[in-house]
């Protein structure tokens, strides 16, 4: 099933939209002493939407006289806005993954489509806004993919030592790694790991477990409850799983690392609102930690979410 911007838009409409935007009437009047910007902020949660109200009511500029009847955008605006947000995040993700350097042309086209989407929204042409946003999203995804394929492949290895002096070397990708203990050396290839107990020679390399497929939260989810429900598919042979939450898609700025044996974790978040990414790993019975799943993004909007619950499984059903 394609889990694209349209469906994401739907999720966001259900959850992220301020309640007042959904209940906004089809028309209103401008109260005395208020500007169109004040009205837009009060009814649509966005001062910039004043320009859309002007376009919708065929006004050239300025504010109408108090008491003037004004047509307001319907729910199509929220869908278009959500599509624009999802596309905007996809562009940022492409940038994070090196598209500026390795997929510049596609990235520029994605940015142009995103700008066109915004212009269409300000003209109150919400169908065009959503169409351009979907195009921007698709181009950004292609730019990210192109960048991931073209940029130099980095080697990734992990080394750990526990209190008993046991060393574990895991080679997640890239070049072969030479592991030496005492007088013995051996080569550990990508996807392999080796354990060395204190005073002993290295054990033969063993295969790392694959990463678990993430289920919840879905990509781009906006979460407004302080408890985050993480869920993933089980991996055969996994003794436990490690969940890493980071502020960036490369995982260079981690904020929490959680470990559990089950295939879900109810995380009582105390993190500030913002965008986060999570990564999942399988750990085998020997304590070898496998490669991380691709970054999956979610947003916390606990303080600004007004209590609207937004978690949905990829199939669209609630959890």
């Amino acid at each position: 099933m394609r889990f694209g911007p349209v469906m994401l838009s739907g999720l966001l409409v259900l959850g992220a939209a301020p309640a007042r935007a959904q209940t906004a009437p089809g028309s209103t009047t401008l109260p005395a002493g208020q500007t169109l910007e004040d009205l837009a902020e009060r009814l649509l949660g966005d001062r910039e939407a004043a320009e859309e109200i002007r376009a919708l009511n065929r006004m050239d500029g300025g504010d109408p006289a108090p008491g003037t009847a004004l047509r307001l955008p319907g729910t199509e605006r929220q869908a278009a806005l959500s599509a624009w947000r999802v596309a905007s995040q996809a562009v940022q993700q492409a940038v994070d993954d090196g598209a500026e350097e390795f997929a510049r042309e596609r990235l520029d086209r994605a940015r142009e489509a995103l700008a066109a989407s915004r212009s269409a929204r300000l003209r109150a042409d919400y169908a065009a806004c959503q169409r351009q946003a979907d195009e921007a999203w698709a181009l950004a995804r292609q730019a990210r993919q192109e960048s991931l394929e073209r940029r130099p492949r980095k080697s990734l290895l992990a080394v750990s030592v526990d209190a008993a002096g046991t060393t574990r070397v895991e080679v997640h990708r890239g070049e072969e790694v030479k592991v030496t203990a005492g007088k013995k050396s051996l080569a550990v290839g990508p996807g392999q790991a080796v354990k060395i107990e204190a005073g002993k020679e290295p054990e033969p390399p063993r295969a790392l477990l694959p990463f678990p497929q993430p289920v919840l939260p879905p990509e781009g989810a906006v979460l407004v409850t302080p408890t985050v429900h993480f869920r993933w598919q089980p991996v055969e042979g996994a003794a436990r799983y490690v969940l890493l939450i980071a502020r960036d898609s490369a995982g260079l700025k981690p904020v929490r690392q959680l470990s559990c044996e089950a295939v879900f974790y109810l995380f009582p978040s105390t993190l500030p609102d913002g965008t986060y990414y999570f990564f999942l790993r399988s750990v085998d019975g020997q304590g070898m930690v496998g490669p991380a799943s691709p970054a999956r993004r979610f947003q916390l909007q606990v303080k600004s979410g007004e209590g609207v619950r937004v978690e949905s499984a990829p199939d669209g059903k609630g959890i």
Partner: protein
Amino acid sequence: MGARTMLYGLAFLSALCAGCGSGCGPKAPSDASSGDAEFEEIQVSARLIAAQGRVTVRRARSEEWHPAITGMALQVDDSLRTQRDAFATLEFEEGGTLRVGPESLVRITDLRLEVRSQARRSTFTVEEGRVEAELLPLKPAGEFRIRTPTAEASLNHREVAFQ
């Protein structure tokens, strides 16, 4: 100032100080051929680009641990410690990174650049805990090592032979 400019600056300072013997400027590694510019090696630094939770740093020849500050440069013989639920990420000048997990103690054992070939030699010692290194392909003669009290993992540039 770009990393390359900074490196050239360090190389120049190193050359200036090569004969003074007073220990000023970047420290020449003991096996560096300081009199031969073709094989000159200079010590470089790694930068702390992220620190979350209680992360402390002990400078070379010091016994005191100080709170780590994002953006600070770490050099040979500096140590970094993370407490429970804490993380740190170091970035190398060529773009690789070293992520230090919770409850870890890591010492920078070696960080050198061979000026002419731009080959880098880096060694980190993990006394306890876990690190993850993400590295761009090494240049010829480049090497990267992670040591623990019981083992060493090394990554070397490998020449590809054609018949």
